[in-house]
């Protein structure tokens, strides 16, 4: 059923940036060598089931741990395990399996027992397929199965939110993901998930600026009672669990905990497609569609890549300019910096964005009319000409100045806290219950306050620092949350830390 348009208070819509990925999909070559991290997505590290010298085939499970909250990891290529060593991967030391490709065929060995007529399979078999394919580790809390792939059990799930809102400055193309038969596959994937979590109500949140897509879905699902479709404004950070839950369900979110704790599973479109592929086609999760975009990329396209492919291989000859650009994973506001090209990609990647490193000074910069400059204020011509593509670069665009309490940060804050006030408390060292009362634990670190500040104050840094200092002093966010919520799966959550 189609629900009326919804949005939330605060937030900012990043419109029309230069270098958005075109809806073109190119299949990358099979890499000559892959490095597979044994911890991918929402999962703790798994134990390697292979050793150096073993021959592996594409789709073979090379890491699995049924004791902890985790999902199996597969070999993405046919080859020979060269080595297993501990490496630093996104600020964490984890074991990586190095595999040298011997046979670069694209064939993937299917999982046993899949059926294209999936409705004939038993629930147990479906769960097993989802778990064995590794799809169960996707997104913030994974997909619950009885194999401890998430922190809750499938029967505990009350709401399943599937979203394709795309609120970041650079997003993977929704049209591309749901192109052709994928559209129906996606729908089948939702049905599979509904069967897996029978007590849940399914909410499909889509970008309100894509009316055609919404219309197609409404036509397809008009007979189904358990599915609601919500057109949402693509305003950052709408795609965050913390914002999706209040917008869609009008329910308070236990900030600092996960949606799964209140019986809600949030998935995005690729995860649902992965479920369909695992159950109906028996494909393990070793391929991922990743958007390669940004103004510093020669071509803005989508690549279908094998997990474990090294960034260096993917970027070879694809970046513009003499100086190395800044390459960021998933989000320009919160993403991780990827300056080490010897690292591999894994199943949690969605976008890779390259923007120019701009430390050039500009003559009378603040007086420019700004046809291509994005700003929350309407002081640039770009607000009058929204069709002109906007620049994204790493210049700070101004000097640091003291806070003038312009209150932009409060206006734009999606969770309704006052960043400039909190940052002053943290800066002065007044770390006590007052800032907890002012809601510092509600901060979801979306980065909008730092983005919008005309005085260029790193507000997010102050918020993080305040958060850490408070916890060191023994004030815990549990004090703000636990008395008001009935959380599930708290014990299990301790094993796995947030990505």
């Amino acid at each position: 059923m189609l629900k009326p348009f919804r949005t939330f208070k605060g937030g900012y819509r990043f419109k029309n940036y230069a270098g958005q990925p075109a809806p073109v999909l190119i299949e990358a070559d099979i890499p000559k060598q892959v490095v597979v991290p044994l911890r991918q997505g929402f999962s703790s590290e798994v134990k390697a089931t292979v050793k150096a010298g073993d021959a592996v085939f594409a789709g073979q499970i090379i890491g699995r741990d049924d004791e902890s909250i985790s999902s199996p990891v597969h070999s993405p290529v046919n080859g020979i395990v060269e080595n297993i060593k501990r490496m630093n991967y996104f600020k964490r030391d984890i074991n990586m399996v190095l595999i040298r490709t011997t046979n670069s065929s694209r064939e993937i060995t299917r999982l046993p027992g899949y059926a294209s007529e999936w409705w004939k399979l038993s629930n147990e078999k479906i769960e097993e397929l989802i778990y064995l394919s590794g799809v169960s580790s996707l997104d913030r809390e994974g997909i619950p199965t009885r194999f401890k792939s998430s922190i809750v059990q499938p029967a505990d799930v009350n709401h399943l939110i599937i979203h394709g809102v795309g609120s970041e400055p650079y997003n993977i193309s929704l049209d591309l993901l749901l192109e052709g038969k994928n559209f129906l596959n996606f729908f089948e994937g939702i049905k599979i998930l509904k069967r897996l979590m029978p007590n849940s109500k399914v909410h499909l949140a889509l970008n309100a600026r894509k009316p055609k897509l919404i219309e197609q879905f409404v036509k397809l699902t008009s007979q189904i009672e358990w599915l609601d479709i919500y057109p949402l404004e693509p305003k950052y950070p709408q795609g965050y669990d913390e914002i999706l839950v209040p917008t869609i369900l009008h329910q308070k979110f236990p900030y600092g905990y996960s949606a799964a704790n209140i019986g809600i599973v949030v998935l995005n479109i690729q995860a649902v497609l992965g479920v369909y592929k695992a159950v109906a086609e028996g494909l393990p999760l070793i391929e991922r569609i990743i958007a390669f975009c940004g103004p510093a990329m020669k071509e803005n396209i989508h690549l279908k890549v094998r997990t474990g492919t090294l960034l260096g291989d993917l970027f070879y000859g694809k970046l513009k300019g003499e100086r190395p650009p800044r390459v960021v994973l998933n989000s320009l506001l919160t993403g991780v910096l990827m300056n080490d090209f010897s690292l591999p990609i894994d199943r949690s990647f969605t976008q890779i964005i390259a923007i120019e490193e701009n430390n050039k000074r500009e003559f009378l910069s603040f007086m420019r009319p700004g046809l291509r400059r994005d700003s929350y204020t309407r002081t640039f011509l770009s607000k009058l000409f929204p069709n002109i593509k906007k620049i994204a670069d790493t210049n700070q665009h101004g000097e640091e100045r003291p806070c003038i309490t312009c209150n932009f940060c409060e206006e734009i804050c999606p969770v309704g806290i006052i960043p400039h006030l909190l940052s002053k408390y943290v800066k002065k060292g007044f770390i006590d219950e007052t800032i907890m009362n002012y809601g510092i634990f509600n901060c979801i670190e979306c980065g909008l306050c730092s983005f919008v500040c005309p005085s260029k104050i790193p507000l997010v840094k102050y918020m993080k620092a305040g958060h850490e200092k408070l916890i060191m002093q023994g004030c815990d966010q549990a004090q703000c949350i636990l008395p008001y919520f009935n959380l599930k799966g708290l014990e299990e959550y301790r094993g796995v830390t947030k990505l």
Binding site: P169, V328, L332, L333, T334, G335, I355, E357, N358, N359, K360, R361, E362, F363, L364, S365, F366, M367, G370, R373, D374, S375, Y376, T377, R378, T379, F380, D393, T394, N395, Q396, H397, G398, E399, R401, P402, C403, I404, T405, C406, N407, F408, E410, I418, H420, L421, N437, Y438, G447, L448, S450, F451, V452, C453, P454, S455, K456, P458, V460, K461
Partner: protein, 347 residues
């Protein structure tokens, strides 16, 4: 561009050789930043908004341009001289403090230096302008720690100081504009004073287009309204304070005028006389000294309106806006604290 770069480079060389001149480094840095922007790059949000304080403040200056030009047109080049004196002496205080504190020069002064002469009577002697702006910047801003920490609007502090220190100059010297009303005659009465003494209500079109006496920048009211709306549309100022203040100043006297014809002027006249428009759009909205919470802005605006009308109607002063803004500034921390207390009270 190259020329400026060379000049700055040479100056930098000269400054570094001389020990005394080396103290003036902040001035050179400010010029350098003004012309060439920054070379710094971002860290965690990898992209940042293009707005900076320079652009923020220059937009307030842009919004004041119509009123400034009208003032120069009405009262001649003396206004221009006042503006230059204000910028020069205020700038000196700013630079002196930047040098002793070894800090950067901040842009907030761009606005203060322009607003201050605009709220003075057009015939103010230049030395009085200099004294006022020095006092305003020094005791209104710098003693509190500079931009962002001041409690009071520096321009208002300077103006109130002058009103109290030089009452004759500040209250008796009101020339009429050189157009619309006749020759350069000294009248000695603003529309508000005329109402107070003889209950005369000036024609609204004269008030709107500035064919009446008053402070230099406050009489061309069409320009002020346009500037204020421009600032609201560009999001530089918040719409809550002007709306709350202006509607209070309209509604409250409208009611009181029914009962006390001679004490309270009618609502529309209250809005269109004196410095209400200039104050409500450009001074009460100064982000540093106004309440920052949304409900605090409503409360502050209403507070400002009520005080202005009361001072105008019941006190010996003709114009109550400057005092009201000063009082609002003083109450701002209180208003904000109360709003925060209510908003974050423990459940």
């Amino acid at each position: 561009m190259k020329l400026i770069k060379d000049v700055l480079g040479n100056l930098n060389g000269v400054i570094q050789k001389n020990k005394f001149l080396a103290k003036f480094k902040p001035v050179l840095n400010a010029m350098d930043e003004f012309f060439f922007g920054t070379s710094r790059v971002t860290s965690l949000p990898y992209i940042l908004d293009y707005i900076d304080i320079k652009r923020f403040m220059s937009f307030v200056v842009i919004a004041l341009i119509p009123a400034t030009l009208a003032a120069i047109y009405f009262w001649g080049l003396h206004i221009l001289a006042m503006i230059i004196v204000s910028y020069a002496f205020g700038g000196m205080v700013e630079v002196a403090f930047a040098i002793t504190r070894k800090k950067e020069i901040h842009e907030g002064f761009l606005v203060t230096g322009l607003i201050f002469p605009l709220i003075l009577p057009p015939a103010t002697p230049l030395w009085v302008v200099a004294v006022g702006v020095v006092f305003g910047v020094l005791f209104g801003k710098e003693v509190f720690g500079g931009t962002g920490r001041n409690i009071f609007n520096p321009a208002i502090v300077g103006r109130v100081f002058l009103t109290i220190a030089f009452p004759k100059i500040m209250t008796l010297n009101w020339p009429l504009p050189s157009i619309g009303v006749g020759a350069d005659a000294i009248t000695g009465a603003t529309p508000l004073a005329l109402f107070k003494s003889q209950s005369i209500v000036n024609s609204y079109s004269n008030l709107l287009f500035g064919f009446c006496s008053g402070s230099a920048g406050e009489t061309f009211r069409i320009g002020l309204i346009a500037g204020g709306i421009f600032l609201i549309l560009t999001r530089i100022i918040d719409w809550r304070i002007p709306l709350a203040a202006l509607s209070t100043i309209f509604v409250f006297p409208h009611l009181s005028n029914h009962f006390f014809h001679t004490t309270f002027a009618p609502g529309l006249f209250q809005i269109l006389s004196g410095g209400v428009l200039l104050g409500a759009f450009f001074m009460a909205t100064d982000p540093v000294t106004a309440p920052f919470t949304k409900s605090g802005r409503w409360i502050g605006g209403i507070f400002l309106g009520v005080l202005t009308v009361l001072i105008r109607g019941l006190s010996g002063y003709v114009e109550g806006l400057v005092f009201s803004i000063l009082l609002l500034n003083a109450c701002t921390p209180l208003i904000d604290t109360l709003v925060l207390k209510v908003r974050y009270r423990r459940k």
